[in-house]
């Protein structure tokens, strides 16, 4: 059995595919992690051809987890500097370690082609930071709201019922 990382080796990444499908330009610096290739001898199935797996990233979206709502999670993708909110299956995020509120992540849309078969599109999630990387971020209020907050502290700080 031959095994090992395919990054930059036998697996062709970002090779143009001659299928007539319009693809986006792949992004630089993308590698495929831990693909295993099994030889015909080791597989025990005579006559089976070695797989030629080609994989490339079609696009990469950046996002953040807003909140988990049971089996679905509310996320925001940032596209053209605008957040677009989406529901995604919670399991897909959780299995990739995206579990904390506000945790940032990347989602790659990946095209995979095995031998000369029809390319299929899949998605790969990757947290951009671990839950333990979080820090407390203070919301900066403008001057008018700072004054309102001072008024709130004055009124509600003493008037408890």
């Amino acid at each position: 059995m031959i095994s090992g990382s395919a990054a930059g080796r036998a697996v062709a990444i970002a090779e143009p595919l001659e299928t007539g499908i319009a693809y986006t330009v792949p992004q630089a610096g993308v590698t495929v992690e831990s693909i295993r290739v099994r030889t015909p001898e080791a597989s025990g199935r005579p006559g089976k051809q070695p797989k030629n797996i080609r994989q490339r990233v079609l696009r990469r979206l950046r996002g953040l987890l807003i909140e988990k709502q049971g089996t679905e999670s509310r996320v925001a993708f940032v596209e053209n500097d605008q957040p677009i909110q989406y529901y995604l299956p919670t399991d897909r995020l959780r299995m990739s370690g995206i579990v904390a509120q506000n945790q940032p992540f990347e989602m790659d849309e990946v095209e995979i082609q095995v031998n000369d078969g029809v390319p299929i599109v899949g998605y790969r999630f990757r947290p951009s930071a671990r839950p333990s990387d979080s820090f407390v971020d203070s919301i900066d209020l403008d001057e008018e709201r700072k004054q309102k907050r001072a008024l709130i502290f004055k009124k509600f700080g003493k008037a408890k019922s």
Binding site: P83, I139, Q147, I152, F156, K160
Partner: protein
């Protein structure tokens, strides 16, 4: 705080009716209660992006407001209360359920964030919520309005012949928030409990008629609210504002024996009316909606299950279940009921799901 005896009617003639108007409000909620002598109570307020109803300033103009109530500290229930509190000339008091407002506001002006390219978007999302609360409570403070904090140990409140029972939140829940404030003040990074737990559940009793306004109360809230409802010996409710936009985390669909859900508080004969605000495409839960339809006459301001033809997916993400957060279809711009003291009621505006052509089947 004003005494209840000062809670006088705004006109000398009583209509003998209690009217409740529900206004379509995008993904939020707006409820106006007109008391027998014409004074108003406002429970939550949020503008509509669809333009199908007048602005809240027009709805409240020239009327005495007994109370403005923020049922819990979420923007979808309170954005439209800001202009009312800022400029309406005749407001008697402001009601809310937020415990230790100053500590709560301090907590929400801090958020967990991460070093990443989307850091600013996290910041902006949280800033919107913080600004909403600062604007609303700032207006209350500036006008020095009479403030009443609501929780389930508050005695029933009399307003113009109507008794309002506060069934939620429990003080225990409020204490969980206070404990979190303390831990954060001590430098420990502890997340606030779900603010929906602060939801004020109101039961309005007018003679033998009862209306139940469920805010965004969750299952936890209802386990005690149902008990308090029964302890108060209230007749079963004729009208229910469905809690939390019909979400599954508010309704025990198959409760254990001896455990009640909010539908158990509703009348059986006559069949109750259930009013649903479900302004985003994720609400209501299909299972909750089916349960509601089986038990009540459902009328929707908006319904995420209604007339769905295609899933919004502007980014073209081909993951099963992936879809953009979008607003629901508007079913009724306004739904109105009028109750008398003898348990009679009339629906003036709005159609129910049984005759609505876009209602989910």
């Amino acid at each position: 705080m004003k005494s209840e005896s000062k809670n006088e009617p705004s006109s000398s003639r009583s209509s003998g009716k209690l009217r409740v108007d529900f206004y379509e409000s995008g993904d939020g909620e707006t409820i106006l209660i007109t008391f027998p002598h014409g004074g108003l109570g406002i429970v939550d307020g949020h503008p509509t992006p669809h333009g199908g109803r007048p602005p809240i300033a027009d709805l409240t103009a020239g009327k005495h407001i007994h109370f403005v109530c923020l049922s819990h500290p979420h923007a979808d229930h309170g954005v439209d209360l800001i202009p009312v509190v800022e400029s309406h000339p005749d407001i008697e008091s402001f009601w809310h359920s937020t415990s230790d407002v100053e500590a709560f506001i301090y907590c929400i002006t801090e958020t967990d964030n991460y070093p990443s390219p989307v850091r600013q978007f996290v910041h902006d999302l949280k800033r919107g919520w913080a600004e909403f609360l600062v604007d609303l409570y700032g207006a209350v403070a500036k006008r020095n309005l009479d403030v009443r904090q609501l929780h389930s140990n508050v005695k029933p409140i009399q307003v113009d012949g109507v008794t309002l029972y506060i069934l939620s939140p429990e003080e225990l829940v409020k204490n969980r928030f206070v404990q979190t404030y303390r831990e954060r003040a001590a430098g420990r990074l502890k997340r606030l409990p779900d603010p929906n737990l602060l939801s004020t559940v109101l039961a309005l009793r007018y003679g033998s008629s009862v209306l139940l306004l469920g805010s965004d109360a969750l299952k936890d809230n209802w386990s005690s609210a149902t008990r308090r409802y029964r302890e108060s010996k209230l007749p079963r409710a004729l009208l229910l504002k469905v809690p939390h936009h019909g979400a599954s985390n508010a309704l025990l669909i198959h409760p254990r024996r001896g455990v009640a859900n909010y539908l158990d508080l509703c009348s059986r004969d006559p069949r109750p009316k259930a009013v649903l605000f479900a302004g985003d495409a994720k609400h209501p839960s299909p299972e909750v909606y089916q349960t509601l339809r089986a038990r009540a006459d459902v009328c929707c301001l908006s319904n995420g299950l209604a007339g769905q033809t295609a899933v919004a997916n502007p980014l073209g993400i081909a993951i099963p279940g992936a879809r953009a957060v979008t607003l629901s279809r508007v079913c009724n711009p306004m739904i109105s009921f009028e109750f008398d003291e003898n348990g009679g009621f009339v629906q003036h505006t709005g159609v129910g799901c049984e005759v609505c052509p876009t209602a989910p089947r």
